[in-house]
């Protein structure tokens, strides 16, 4: 269960933090540019953090949280492959959801 006090703190801290990220250049830095290494790190934040967050959710998706559940693993692979191939978020999410739904219906 999520603690309500920390929930509200996180909502507002995240709101302020996200705003500051968005306002950083537009509002404060102006036309000055960041050092090359910082921009290079920024380029890879999302493609590093998001896979790191989902990997354990996929790898430990069975009921005992000890290993992957086959249908979920296959749905994850399908979603990623379709997304990488079509570059289309919606097509990828639909294929993943259909694979998951159908797989659980047939084998679940």
């Amino acid at each position: 269960m999520i603690d309500k006090g920390s929930l509200w703190f996180i909502i507002f801290a995240l709101g302020i933090g996200s705003f500051m990220l968005r306002f950083s250049f537009l509002g404060l830095v102006g036309d000055r540019s960041l050092p090359a290494w910082a921009l290079r790190y920024l380029r890879y934040t999302a493609v590093a953090i998001i896979p790191a967050l989902i990997a354990p959710m996929v790898a430990l998706s069975n009921e005992a949280n000890t290993g992957p559940e086959p249908v979920r693993l296959i749905a994850a692979i399908v979603t990623f492959s379709v997304g990488a191939w079509t570059r289309n978020v919606i097509v990828a999410i639909c294929n993943g959801a259909i694979t998951l739904g159908l797989g659980l219906y047939l084998f679940g």
């Binding site: 920390s6 996200s18 537009l26 921009l39 998001i50 989902i54 289309n88």
Partner: protein
């Protein structure tokens, strides 16, 4: 372009932004549903979507909060996921940086993947647009996406508790994130960053306080960044 009035620039933005409703809406519904399932009430869900407006960061925070992760780690991880908006901010500053402060505050609040992508492409394409036209176009691209984000968060929250338990909502988040991330893997350094992050996060699976996520994230960023440096050096050596 010079003949375009401010008003028509706004409506052009609205039209160009319309297809992106299809991208924002499902994530907003999903956030509403997952947040409600996690025990948030309607007011909390709407506040979250209204204050933060960042799908990936909201999902990350929600997932980590459910695992009783320390607040600081939740914030660092969610903001790291959202760091790309700082890049967007840098990218649109040459075009919009001279607008009045209150407008830049509003622009910043609404700076999301869609508004950045549309506005930046348009400003590069049409260098003759005046500042008021650019501003109007930018706010035009935000209008429908923002509306869809709030309305669909509400719909998701209203729907949340009424979903049949047979729907595997536990796996909605991985599917959503995978579909978001796959099109972002555009080069070898991106791929190396993602693979490194996955491997390190699985190795660090038992590190307490979800710190493994931060370690894996940094490892992935360093790997991607270093690969880029190597590739650039190789290309320069080949010339």
């Amino acid at each position: 372009m010079t003949s375009t009035t401010t008003k028509s620039a706004y409506w052009m933005g609205v039209r160009d932004g319309a297809p992106f409703i299809l991208v924002a809406a499902p994530f907003a519904v999903l956030f509403g549903v997952i947040a409600t399932e996690a025990g948030l009430n309607l007011f909390e869900v709407m506040s979250f979507s209204f204050v933060v407006i960042a799908g990936a960061a909201q999902f990350t925070a929600l997932e980590l909060m459910q695992k009783e992760t320390p607040t600081l780690i939740v914030l660092i991880s969610a903001l790291a996921v959202n760091l790309r908006v700082a890049m967007y901010s840098a990218a649109i500053t040459p075009y919009l940086g001279t607008a009045p402060l209150w407008q830049r505050v509003l622009m910043s609040y609404m700076l999301v993947d869609q508004s950045y992508a549309l506005a930046h492409a348009k400003f590069e394409d049409a260098p003759n647009m005046s500042l008021p036209q650019r501003t109007a176009y930018y706010f035009g691209t935000c209008t429908l996406v923002m509306g869809a984000w709030f309305i669909c968060s509400f719909l998701g929250a209203a729907l949340g508790t009424q979903l049949p338990p047979s729907i595997p909502i536990d796996f909605a988040l991985p599917i959503a994130f995978l579909s978001m991330i796959a099109p972002m893997i555009r080069s070898l350094p991106h791929l190396i960053a993602a693979i490194t992050a996955i491997v390190v996060s699985l190795i660090c699976i038992n590190v307490p306080y979800s710190l493994g996520l931060i370690i894996a994230g940094f490892a992935g960023m360093a790997a991607g960044s270093q690969t880029e440096v190597w590739i650039t050096r190789k290309q320069e050596a080949a010339l």
